[in-house]
């Protein structure tokens, strides 16, 4: 089964149609998505600024990680659940959307960045926990994460501008 058939099949689900055709479904989901984003991306940014040595320098890195983690997860659950429901409710709007796929790619890269950082530089956190300028591996992970999450927020907003895309993408004739 191709991705296109999957998206088309989801679009015919009664619950998908019901959300798509309800008046308040989309406004409710999108507004909750933004509030979840504020909590998640906002606290991720505070932690990344600390790792990059750019902000929140009075707090040790491990404390930023551990104490903000539960709230980042709350924000992530809200954003993820509402985002998934938005796609479920109107899959064909997203299937041929350049920014939707770019956003997904950047989320994947952000995840890889976080996992790699935790398996490498972060294992020695005890040695540099309170340093105002963490080691280069931590600063790189922080800056990469800031850039990727900014990109994810930007491409998320740009999904609404499905016409403002490169010509080669339009040439693929996905929609």
């Amino acid at each position: 089964m191709s991705l296109r058939t999957l998206f088309e099949a989801v679009a015919t689900q009664p619950t998908s149609i019901a959300i798509r055709e309800s008046i308040y479904g989309y406004p409710f989901l999108l507004t909750s998505h933004v509030v979840g984003m504020c909590l998640f991306a906002g606290l991720i940014a505070m932690m990344d600024l600390r790792l990059a040595g750019l902000g929140n320098l009075g707090t040790p890195c491990s404390e930023m990680q551990k104490r903000l983690f539960p709230w980042q997860i709350v924000g992530l659950i809200v954003s993820f659940a509402t985002g998934l429901t938005l796609v479920y409710s109107d899959p064909m709007r997203f299937y041929g959307n350049f920014y939707f796929w770019l956003k997904n790619l950047m989320m994947l890269l952000a995840l890889v960045n976080a996992v790699v950082f935790h398996l490498t530089t972060y294992t020695s956190v005890a040695l540099w926990d309170s340093d105002p300028v963490p080691p280069s591996g931590a600063r790189l992970a922080g800056v990469l994460s800031l850039a990727l999450w900014a990109g994810i927020v930007i491409t998320g907003r740009m999904i609404a501008y499905s016409g403002l895309v490169p010509n080669w993408w339009i040439g693929l004739k996905l929609t």
């Binding site: 406004p27 984003m37 906002g42 940014a45 929140n56 707090t59 104490r67 927020v153 930007i154 609404a160």
Partner: protein, 159 residues
């Protein structure tokens, strides 16, 4: 006094037409607005969580607040700079949207609250603050700013 003539004047400005007629201006302004919102929200929430005893509790409150302050002010400044052209370019839509007024009134209250009472509480000696005040101020702050964000998003969705 009605603000209607003022909003009509804003919509008649050349810059208002320029933003509306160029395909890339609005999206560029909107994405900067959104990145600034996330930064601002992070700086607000990290202090509110500390106020409520749910975040960076091992650090002194005043230090958490001082660390977050540049990002809070910087985020708010960028939000205002990118917010003004959005009002200018669609002034009449904003004027007739109840959510626009909800957002702006909320913004005024939240801003005053943040830079007076909340600022004073975050910089006070915690032993004198007692257990209740921090929780109240943190909760009020989160509620006000969430309300502003919700109102703002609904201008474009339910107007």
């Amino acid at each position: 006094m009605s603000l209607l003539p003022f909003f009509q004047w804003m919509e008649s400005l050349p810059i208002s037409h320029a933003i509306q007629s160029a395909a890339w201006y609005s999206p560029i302004i909107q994405v900067i607005h959104l990145v600034a919102l996330a930064t601002f929200a992070g700086a607000v929430v990290v202090v509110d969580l500390r106020l409520m005893g749910l975040g960076l509790n091992r650090r002194p409150l005043a230090q958490v607040a001082r660390d977050a302050h540049p990002w809070l002010v910087g985020g708010l400044v960028v939000l205002l700079i990118t917010g003004i052209p959005q009002v200018l370019s669609l002034a009449m839509k904003q004027y007739y949207s109840p959510f626009f007024w909800w957002k702006m009134e909320g913004l005024a209250v939240a801003t005053i609250f943040t830079f007076t009472l909340r600022r004073k509480v975050t910089l006070t000696d915690e032993r004198r603050l007692g257990p209740l005040w921090g929780k109240v101020v943190g909760l009020v702050s989160m509620t006000l700013w969430t309300g502003v964000t919700v109102g703002a998003r609904l201008i474009g969705l339910l107007s």
